[in-house]
C-alpha cells in the first residue's frame, strides 16, 4: 500500500477574475479555501461546506458552481469569477445594483453566492418571470431577508441588465 506523504503539494494555476494565479497547495485544498486563504479574496463566503447553503457559489467558466465542492487542483486552467469580479463600489454590476435598490440583503453573508448565481441566471434568462426567479435562487439559503426582496432583486437585476444593453437614446454625440 502506498504511504501518503502528508506534505505532498502541487502547483495549481487558476484564473480568478481575469488574473492567472499560481499557488502551491495540497490536493485536498478546496476551491473555496484556495480563493479565500491562498488568494485572499474573501468576498466568497463559506457557510456549510457541503453544498447546501450556496454562500460559496462562484462562476466556473461562467456557470455557477459550489466552490466548497471542488478542489483547487480540479480548477486548473479554469476561469473563475467571484463576487469581486462582478463590480466595484463605484461601478456595481447589475445584480449588486439591484440588491442595493431592492434591499436584497441584511447581514450580507449569503449575498456573494446570490450575486454570482443570479448573474449567471439573467445571462441565460434575460427576462424571467417571478416564478423562474424564485426557482433560480432556490439553491441559496438566506436567514435574514425572507427572500421576498431577493426575488425582487432578481427581476430588477434582469431589468438593469436590459437597460444597460440598450443604447441610450440620442446615442454618443462623438
Amino acid at each position: 500500500m502506498t504511504d501518503i506523504d502528508q506534505g505532498t503539494t502541487v502547483d495549481v494555476t487558476v484564473t480568478v477574475n481575469g488574473i492567472a494565479h499560481t499557488r502551491t497547495v495540497e490536493p485536498r485544498r478546496l476551491l473555496s479555501d484556495f480563493i479565500r486563504h491562498d488568494l485572499r479574496l474573501t468576498g466568497t463566503h463559506v457557510g456549510c461546506e457541503h453544498g447546501v447553503c450556496g454562500a460559496c457559489t462562484v462562476l466556473v467558466d461562467g456557470k455557477p458552481m459550489r466552490s466548497c465542492l471542488m478542489f483547487a487542483v480540479s480548477a486548473e486552467d479554469m476561469e473563475i469569477t467571484t463576487v469581486e469580479g462582478l463590480g466595484t463600489q463605484d461601478a456595481m454590476g447589475p445584480v449588486q445594483q439591484a440588491f442595493v435598490e431592492c434591499h436584497g440583503l441584511q447581514c450580507g453573508f449569503c449575498t456573494p453566492g446570490f450575486v454570482t448565481t443570479i448573474t449567471a441566471f439573467i445571462e441565460e434568462n434575460p427576462d424571467p418571470t417571478s416564478e423562474e426567479a424564485r426557482e433560480a435562487i432556490s439553491g441559496n439559503l438566506c436567514r435574514c431577508t425572507g427572500y421576498q426582496n431577493i426575488c425582487k432583486a432578481v427581476l430588477r437585476a434582469a431589468e438593469i441588465n436590459r437597460e444597460r444593453a440598450t443604447p441610450t437614446e440620442g446615442g454618443d454625440p462623438a
Binding site: 502506498t2 490536493p27 478546496l30 453544498g51 450556496g54 466556473v60 458552481m65 471542488m70 487542483v73 432556490s138
Partner: protein, 290 residues
Amino acid sequence: MKPAPFVHHGPRTLDEAVAVLGEVGHDGKVLAGGQSLIPVLNMRLAQPAHLVDINRVAGLDTVTVTDSHVRVGATVRHAELEKHDEAYAVLPLLRQALLCVAHPAIRNRGTTVGSIAHADAAGEMPSVLVLTQGVIEVVGPRGRREVAALEFFEGPLQTVLEADELVEAVRFARFAPGTRTAFLESARRSGDYAVAGVGVAVDVSTDSGEAVVTGARAAYVSVTDIPVVVDLTDAVAGQPVSSVWDGVDELVQAGIAPEADIHASSEYRRMLAAELTRRALTRATTEGTA
C-alpha cells in the same frame, strides 16, 4: 469540515485511469463531479488515500443518441444532459427527472453517471436508468463488462462495481413509440432530497381512435433501498388517459418499502408515493409524449 489528505491522480486517458485505479482502487475513489463525494470527504465520513480524478480523461464527456438509446459518458454534467435537445426529443424522461436533481449549481458540476455509480436511494437518475431498462458500461483492469441496470444496484450506496472498476458510460434505453413519461417528487425545499419521488412510463394506444392506456411502469426515489420497477399495468390497462388512477395503490404499496427517518414516517412516505404515482400518471398521459 476539510477533507483528510489524499493523493490526487489526474489521468488524461481512459487507459491511464484504469491503470491507476487498478493500482490504488482498493484504497481510493473515482472523482467525477464530486457533488456527492466531496461533502462526504469534507465531513470525513470517508477518507480514501487516493482520488482518481477523471474530469480530464478524454472522450468521457459526450452524449450520443442512437435509435435504441441515449449514451451518457462518465463526465457529462447533469446540466449538459438536461439541456441536450436531441436527448430530450427522444427521451423526455431525462430532462423531466434531471430538473429534480438538486439545484442548478449542483447540476452544473455533478455528473449523471456519478450519481448512478454513487447509488444513493434518494438519487433520481438510478431510478430513471432502471425504468428505461438501461445498461451500465464498466471498465477495469480485467477489461470491459456491461451490467443491466436492474442488476447493478445491491443496496443503498452499494453496487456490483469492484473497487478497481470505473463506469465509463451508461445507456438509457429509449421507450417504444407512444410511451409517455413523467417524473415527480416531493421535497421539503425545492431541490432538496426527495421525501418520495416517482418516474412513470405509460404505454398509450390510439389504435381504437381514442387514447387508451395499455400498460405502465414506475420507479421510485427515497422509498426503496435500490431502484426497482413496479409494474402498474394490471391497475391501469384499458383505462382512458383521463383516468384518476384510483386502482394503483395496492401495486405501489407492494412494490415499495419506505423507511422512517427524521423527515417522514414510513406511512407518510407510502401515502406520498401513491399520490405522486397518480399525479405522475396524469401528467404523463395528459402532457408527455415520448
